[in-house]
């Protein structure tokens, strides 16, 4: 039988292969590629991480660019498809007020971003889990961790800069950091990392209102077209929900079923 304490660290598909990495507490870290598996100790895993950082840096081969200065979460979620097209890398100073924060395809000035507003009003951000969050980390926790890190370690910490692409100032990575900096210090100049790609075209945000309105229209059009598919999926989920409710559990003694469970009984289970 396998280790009971297994946490899936990452999973995904590369081509036709299914890949996942899990941490088997106390045992080893497993890297699975389809039915094949590699077992690593913690030290070997750390060494592999270092080797891959160097390998990617050398493969990209852009003067001054170092993969270890990029947040691995951002790298894995957004940046990796663009790495072969990277042509330039520079660290510049930009005023925080000139930065834009994207949110669900819409673009806002940093002072109007969700993160900054949440900090200013103190209202907790309640959102569905996003791929850019770490395991067991909520959006609010993430914001609080970053705020704490900036207060303790300053910015940039471990050379992790706010990242923008091309010639625009749309934040691609570091929205939370930017919001925290804006909240703590106001409209100050900060160093950012600008990446240039040979296939990147900046969106036209000279009229932000118009841009966001067109985004809204496009999203509604896409939604309408996919409405039929979504309706079918919704119908199926509803039918399945009711089928499960009325399905007899395996091995039930017919005719004598009680679904009540009071707190006293539950306490008995917790006191083990």
């Amino acid at each position: 039988m396998s280790n009971p304490a297994v946490i899936k660290l990452q999973s995904g598909r590369i081509g036709k292969s299914k890949i996942w990495l899990d941490d088997n507490f106390g045992e080893s870290i497993h890297i699975h590629i389809d039915d094949n598996r590699v077992d690593l100790t913690v030290e070997e895993f750390r060494q592999l991480y270092d080797d891959l950082c160097v390998s990617l840096t050398k493969l990209v081969d852009v003067d001054g660019f170092d993969v270890s200065q990029i947040d691995p979460v951002f790298l894995s979620v957004m940046l990796w498809p663009y790495l072969p097209h990277l042509t330039g890398y520079s660290i510049e100073t930009v005023n925080l007020g000139e930065l834009y924060a994207p949110y669900h395809s819409y673009i806002y000035r940093l002072k109007n971003s969700k993160g900054y507003k949440a900090l200013k009003t103190g209202i907790e951000i309640k959102e569905k889990r996003r791929n850019s969050q770490l395991l067991n980390q909520t959006e609010s926790q993430r914001m609080n961790d970053i705020l704490k890190s900036i207060k303790e370690n300053g910015y940039p910490h471990k050379c992790h800069y706010i990242v923008v692409y091309g010639n625009d100032n749309i934040i691609r990575d570091g929205q939370h950091r930017a919001s925290c900096l804006y909240y703590l210090y106001g409209n100050i100049d900060v160093p950012i990392l600008r990446l240039k790609f040979d296939n990147y075209k900046s969106p036209d945000i000279s009229n932000l209102c118009w841009y966001n309105m067109m985004t809204f229209v496009k999203k509604r059009m896409v939604w309408s077209i996919s409405f039929v598919v979504k309706f079918k999926m919704l119908t199926y989920s509803v039918v399945r929900f009711f089928l499960k409710r009325f399905k007899f559990a395996k091995g039930i003694v017919p005719g004598k079923l009680s679904l009540e469970m009071d707190e006293t009984m539950k306490a008995m289970f917790l006191s083990k």
Binding site: M1, S2, P4, A5, V6, L9, Q10, I14, G15, I19, L21, D23, N24, F25, G26, S28, I29, I31, V38, D39, L40, T41, V42, E44, F45, L48, Y49, D51, L52, S55, L56, K58, L59, V67, D71, P72, V73, L75, S76, V77, P81, P84, L134, L135, N136, A249, G251, V253, K256, S258, L259, E260, M261, M265, K266, A267, M268, L270, S271, K272
Partner: protein
């Protein structure tokens, strides 16, 4: 095969040294290829796939680092309920129940006895006989709070928990010694060697057949570490009173199939009564 462009960087996977090599693709439109290879082995993938795979591994390291440095929320002893003393009536009812099971030739082991609740294990092949037996006696099937009706999954073909009420006592029935997985609302059976141990060395007291002390200790440990994330007052007392068993090689071997390299540290902490540090140290353990 496309022509080699250049060596990128050596990497180590475990103790094996490999070289990452950049090559031309088989065709012009295919794009470049990466070979991860040594004299005995080669793994080939497209350059884009290599970027994807590498960043996935790098992110996994970041997640691992985050998990190990996270503060685990451990349930305080005071937050977990205190057990009532097992009454003579419960013991009498258990005795009668055990007699009836023996007369019906149903093999069982008692795992845990609380006032008005008994946890027992039966063999999977005898489960249907037990169900018929309980049905004949007029027992009521109850909804187990951690069973499938409450959204819990049972992996590796594990039989879901059953809960019956008979003679004003709750009988919780397992077919395997369970352990809560770190995946929420998921149960898995403990290792085969532990499942075997249940049936090999019973403790027989009167007619009541109990699981061996080793199995009972493992059960309470796993419940505290994986499910409650805290040691209840009862489990601390139970493990404290029986800590001599943790000195045995047999117990160490059984614990190693659950806790692996953490086992020596776990045994040491139990023997020195440091229950409060067991769980935080386990979740931040990197000695493997």
């Amino acid at each position: 095969m496309g022509e080699k462009i250049r060596d990128i960087h050596p990497i180590k996977i475990g103790k094996s040294s490999l070289m990452i090599e950049l090559n031309e693709g088989y065709t012009a439109s295919e794009g470049r290829l990466i070979h991860i290879q040594n004299k005995k082995f080669r793994y080939l993938l497209k350059e884009n796939d290599f970027y994807h795979l590498s960043t996935m591994v790098m992110r996994a390291w970041r997640e691992f680092d985050y998990i190990k440095n996270q503060t685990v929320e451990v349930m305080n002893e005071n937050e977990l309920p205190i057990r009532d003393e097992v009454s003579d009536l419960t013991m009498q009812k258990l005795h009668n129940f055990a007699v009836m099971l023996t007369l019906d030739n149903i093999d069982y082991r008692i795992l845990d006895v609380q006032n008005k609740m008994i946890t027992m294990i039966v063999k999977e092949e005898e489960l249907s006989r037990l169900k018929n037996f309980l049905e004949k006696k007029g027992s009521v099937i109850r909804n187990h709070p951690f069973g499938p009706n409450n959204g819990y999954r049972f992996l590796y073909q594990m039989t879901p928990f059953l809960l019956y009420e008979y003679d004003d006592i709750l009988f919780e029935v397992y077919c395997q010694l369970p352990c809560a997985s770190l995946t929420p609302k998921t149960w898995i059976p403990l290792d085969k060697s532990i499942q075997k141990e249940i049936w090999q060395h019973p403790e027989e007291n009167d007619v009541i057949k109990k699981c061996s002390l080793a199995c009972r200790c493992i059960y309470h440990l796993c419940w505290a570490i994986f499910f409650n994330k805290g040691f209840s007052p009862y489990s601390k007392v139970f493990l404290r009173e029986n800590k001599t068993i943790f000195c045995s090689d047999q117990m160490r071997e059984l614990l190693e199939v659950v806790f692996f390299n953490y086992t020596p540290s776990l045994i040491g902490q139990i023997q020195s009564d440091n229950f409060d540090t067991i769980i935080p140290k386990y979740y931040s353990f990197i000695g493997y």
